[in-house]
């Protein structure tokens, strides 16, 4: 999901809002080039329905006090409008919704595969045995893989997601991250049951995305104390129960798969972007729930940093700098 509107909160710094918006905008540039097409990665513009769920204690309506002022193209829908525009949603579960326009979705797996092919076509190499050592080689850096391969480089970008902290430690760098686990379920159901991405913001950032006609990806959780990749009854049960409450027809959808992943989260929920203390290393991590939204822009910003150029779009990256003071993590309660 590529949704600055659903991911920004007013307590966050304005530079993060700028980053999110620039990330969404940059996707069009990123995909309309010679290595892929939007269709290859299931990219499309989409509206988002940010549902005001009855199970939440607080209404989302207050968000309309500030969302339009921040430039988000959105309207408040009362229950009757939700019923008219999204007829498969049940008004028994939804008190209303904020309809957000001009955002987008992409298939992250397809994107990853296309990027891998493009990189290989340009002579890039992938080493899949992991990184086991970082050594000095004069002024350059020598990376040693688990397969014993040595790669020597002038600059190294650390972008290992939830594992960036472990990788950074090999280089003598400190990147405080917490892996925030999220579980997802893939279902097969009636095509076009929803006309937008339905966001269910209760606890974790739950959502229903129709990736292709009749193929729905539903999630999710934010779990901080569970460093394993298994799906669990509590999370999956809650997510599916919520889905069936919001879209009653989903009770008949077929479960086709489940998986879990880990988001890299800093304690201030902002990414770490830029040059480290050892200037041979650049860090690009901590994107939390916005890894897919910000991946293309992050690549561009890191390239700008390597080349000594001004950051793309004139973005102020100071709140995201490496080495900024970060409190230790204190978030333990799983949300789902």
């Amino acid at each position: 999901m590529l949704t600055p509107a659903c991911e920004y909160d007013p307590w966050m710094c304005r530079q993060f809002l700028d980053l999110l918006k620039s990330g969404l905008s940059y996707y069009k540039t990123f995909l309309h080039s010679d290595w892929t097409t939007p269709e290859q990665v299931d990219y499309r513009s989409s509206e988002f329905t940010l549902t005001d769920l009855g199970e939440s204690e607080e209404s989302l309506r207050d968000r309309m006090d500030w969302m339009p002022g921040l430039g988000f193209d959105c309207d408040w829908w009362d229950t009757s409008e939700v019923c008219a525009r999204e007829p498969h949603l049940s008004p028994t579960a939804v008190r209303g919704a904020i309809r957000i326009r001009n955002e987008a979705v992409v298939n992250p797996i397809a994107l990853w595969e296309e990027m891998g092919r493009a990189m290989a076509a340009r002579g890039g190499k992938t080493y899949s045995e992991g990184l086991v050592g970082v050594e000095e080689q004069g002024e350059r850096v020598s990376l040693v893989t688990g397969g014993g391969v040595q790669v020597v480089a002038d600059r190294v970008v650390l972008a290992a997601g939830a594992w960036t902290a472990d990788v950074a430690r090999l280089a003598g760098l400190e990147v405080p991250l917490c892996p925030a686990k999220g579980q997802m379920v893939l279902l097969r159901g009636t095509p076009h049951a929803i006309g937008s991405v339905v966001f269910m913001p209760t606890g974790g950032c739950g959502s229903i995305v129709e990736r292709r006609p009749g193929s729905y990806v539903v999630g999710t959780s934010e779990e901080y104390l569970v460093p394993d990749e298994h799906n669990t009854a509590g999370v999956v049960g809650t997510v599916l129960s919520r889905l069936c409450g919001v879209v009653p027809d989903a009770a008949h959808w077929r479960i086709e798969g489940m998986w879990a992943g880990f988001r890299p989260m800093t304690s201030d929920e902002l990414p770490v972007l830029g040059v480290a203390d050892d200037r041979r290393f650049l860090v690009a991590t901590g994107h939390h729930r916005n890894g897919i939204l910000l991946a293309p822009l992050t690549g561009r910003l890191i390239a700008d940093a390597v080349n000594g150029d001004v950051p793309f779009d004139g973005l102020d990256l100071s709140p995201f700098r490496y080495g900024r003071p970060l409190r230790p993590h204190a978030r333990f309660a799983a949300k789902y």
Binding site: R169, P176, R327, H329, A330, R331, A333
Partner: protein, 196 residues
């Protein structure tokens, strides 16, 4: 009482039996909230007998009409308590650690009008509980005697867990209120952001 670049934490004697029974009544009445609190913080788990006692109490016929009154009486009694250290090594160590960790959130706590907290060992609690007014944090023994340096478990996927603080003991404690459909955490009750 600790001071100097720390958050004021008072050290108190364990909860007397009569007050402990009010906590047990509240816990058994709001058992669903307490069980959900535990599930969401797996692998934290109270001793089996502690949880069993709360469940047995819940299963008994109970009069919930006077719970508000019992909480009000508890609040009045606890407001008269003068802090006294227990001399217990584990308790003192936790108080010192909590005082240090909460200092990182002084601005948030002050904005939420929390200026000091008294830590009270409470054998009848199964989760951390907070009593507004006296501003007491009731901690069950299993969370006092063995606070790990780091709650995040290590495994082959993430062999080096991130650094953590004990501040969650306060921020995520359940607030001793009654007559509500859901029990808030302290952070939610005082509208305090836990993160930066």
């Amino acid at each position: 009482m600790t001071h100097l670049a720390t958050f004021p934490i008072e050290d108190a004697a364990p909860l007397p039996a009569a007050d402990g029974d009010v906590l047990l009544r509240w816990t058994s009445f709001y058992l669903r909230d307490c069980e959900k609190w535990l599930v969401r913080r797996h692998p934290l788990a109270p001793p089996a007998d502690l949880l069993a006692r709360a469940r047995r109490r819940h299963a008994q016929p109970h009069d919930d009409t006077s719970l508000s009154g019992a909480l009000a009486s508890l609040t009045r009694r606890r407001a008269r308590i003068r802090a006294r250290g227990t001399g217990d090594g584990a308790h003192s160590a936790l108080v010192d650690r909590l005082s240090h960790d909460l200092a990182l959130y002084s601005a948030s706590l002050s904005a939420g009008e929390l200026h000091k907290v008294r830590v009270v060992p409470a054998g009848s609690a199964i989760v951390p509980l907070f009593l507004p007014g006296p501003d007491e944090l009731f901690l069950p023994p299993y969370l006092m005697s063995d606070i790990p340096e780091n709650l995040f478990p290590a495994d082959s996927l993430f062999p080096e867990p991130p650094k953590a603080t004990t501040s969650w003991l306060l921020f995520q404690s359940l607030v001793l209120v009654a007559d509500r459909p859901r029990i808030p955490t302290l952070a939610s009750f005082y509208d305090i952001r836990e993160s930066d």
